[in-house]
Amino acid sequence: MDIISSWDRITRAPHNTYAIYWQNHLHEYLNATKLPLIPYGAGKSYGDVCLNPHGSLWKMTNLNRFLEFNESTGVLRCEAGVLLKDINNYLIPQGWKLPVVPGTQYVTVGGAIANDIHGKNHHCKGSFGHYVKAIKLLRTDGEILSLNRADPFFAATIGGLGLTGIIISADLQLEPTDSQWFNNEIIPFSNIEEFTQLSNTNEYEYTVAWLDCAKSRGLFMRANFIKNYTKPQSKKNKINIPGVFPISLVNHNFIRVYNSLYFGRKKNTKETAFYEDFFFPLDNIINWNKLYGRKGFFQYQCVIPYNTAVAAIKEILKVIARQQMATLAVIKSFGYKASVGMLSFPMPGITLAVDFNNQGTKTLELFNTLDKIVCASGGRLYAAKDTRMSAAVFAAGYEKLHDFLQYRDPGISSSFSKRVMGI
């Protein structure tokens, strides 16, 4: 039994783990596994979608080979354990990049599909699922399915939290690139209305805002790739947090000081940034989650439709300011491209992601209050960041849940599915 946790380090539980190395041994792995199981990639989701305490867990990161690449069309077939980092490292120099990346490149292709991840360019490009052309899926009864976009199983698997089967490989549509550098402009705003005005643009492919929850002010970042531009990249040493502190280092005093310094230093700046520094700033601090100490931390991520977003987010920020200080908050507007997956999180609206120290009951009560605001506004929560939402809240946000359940693999189960779907 190995102790496995996800990124928030709240649930750390023993699992029977099986490392998966080869496609030509899949049935042997199945025969050796006591069902139900849950597939596990790089463990960068925050909640319990990737956990199956006291049960079986398939570690997929060794199934990490590139299989085929079409240099004319940019379609890459790769195994599910390939990290997005490796796709960037090896294919960007060959002139191709992933159209959508999340906040860290240390996620697997399987995890990116299962959570239908989104990035700073959702308003232009949609989510990861839009660029998946085919999936090879292993069901726990031994059947291997080759899914294309026309299959209903496909829509169930994109954003399907690993519950339809084990993703073995996928075909991804990359897009051409001739640059690895961004022009990044940082503009301050002092309320949510100003944020929405700044967001109302297609001139910039990449936008996101950092939010100082206590003061409802923030910094709006907007950027585009610089075409045909290159310059020597300065080598950055990554900081590796060596151990877990007994208490959180991300406390109130630190947050107040950090927020003031960050806002003061970064506002009204223009910079040229290398893609890794722009997309994945926190990847420079490996294991930054350990700064939150033994109790771990929570993230609350919701999306609220545009017609109710401003009012709802203002209310959410008021509640947070009253009940518990946030440690980090990010806000972004989603685009109108319809999500592919039945359980995909993005929808047209504003998404807010807020980190909190784990203060136990106090934090959970805060989240219950926030749930009411989100549900009343027609919004929903992101399963990939969740460790506590109720079945009712999930069902309220995902109208296709009932359709999805018929595609579920009965041999796969997670803490999340048990809590939220009863299976």
């Binding site: 490392a19 080979r65 085929e68 090896y90």
Partner: protein, 245 residues
């Protein structure tokens, strides 16, 4: 870059990671393995990571002397070889080895016979050119016989002695011999053990590639095993007897 690199036992977890790390400096990668499906998957993967490298694969029975000779000869006609890494091994559970004589024979054939065959044949080529690095993957298990893994350990101990002989043979030449001693490493070979504190194959591979680059004679990886095995080696038997290792 322009190195010609040979990896024998290329479908092993550590060897696969070494191949990835060597891509930037290789012009040719010759991959030799017993399992054709696995080797094809590795070859396709490497070719996409770096399309500029020539990747040539060979699938054969490692216990067929004629086939082994043919493959080595074929590779050596393609130019001066810079690095040969010999990585094949099998590690059945100790208790199975104690009870199954045919398993012992298989283990010796793969871990010793096939390693020495490839080694001696490639060294003939290297000696003719007075050039090259030959690296053999042994194990910390070969440093001292212990009840938990002594049959596998014995096969690796033989490789330790063999490589020491090679070092003596080539001490006055430009041929460098490296003996690699990984500690317990996460891989399919060790899947039947508790892998909780084992090293990652990527980390071990990184140390191997760096060690060969520096022409190191003995490479413990991770490095801490150099000190751990020093203690194990000098430990009086009556103390070792009490340990469950």
């Amino acid at each position: 870059m322009n190195k010609k690199i040979v990896i024998v036992g290329a479908s092993s977890a550590i060897a696969e990671q070494c191949a990835r790390l060597w891509l930037p400096e290789a012009s040719f990668l010759f991959l030799i393995a017993r399992d054709g499906e696995k080797l094809q998957a590795i070859k396709s993967d490497l070719a996409i990571r770096n399309p500029k490298v020539n990747i040539i694969s060979y699938v054969l029975d490692f216990l067929n002397a004629e086939e082994v000779s043919k493959v080595v000869a074929s590779i050596c006609t393609q130019g001066v070889i810079d690095i040969v890494l010999i990585a094949q091994a099998m590690m059945p559970a100790q208790i199975d080895c104690q009870n199954d004589l045919t398993l012992i024979e298989k283990l010796i054939n793969i871990n010793i016979t096939s390693v020495i065959w490839f080694s001696e044949l490639f060294l003939q080529h290297m000696e003719n050119n007075n050039h090259g690095n030959l690296a053999i993957i042994s194990s910390t298990a070969g440093d001292r016989g212990r009840r938990k893994n002594y049959i596998y350990g014995a096969s690796k101990a033989m490789l330790n002695c063999y490589t020491a002989g090679l070092r003596h043979r080539f001490y006055n030449s430009k041929i460098k011999i490296s003996l690699i001693k990984p500690g317990p490493t996460i891989s399919p070979m060790t899947a039947h053990l508790n892998q909780k504190r084992f090293a990652k194959a990527e980390q071990v591979a990184h140390n191997i590639v760096a060690g060969i680059k520096k022409d190191k004679a003995i490479i413990y990886t991770p490095f801490k095993w150099k000190f751990i095995m020093f203690v194990i080696k000098i430990m009086p038997q009556f103390i070792l007897n009490r340990l469950n290792i």
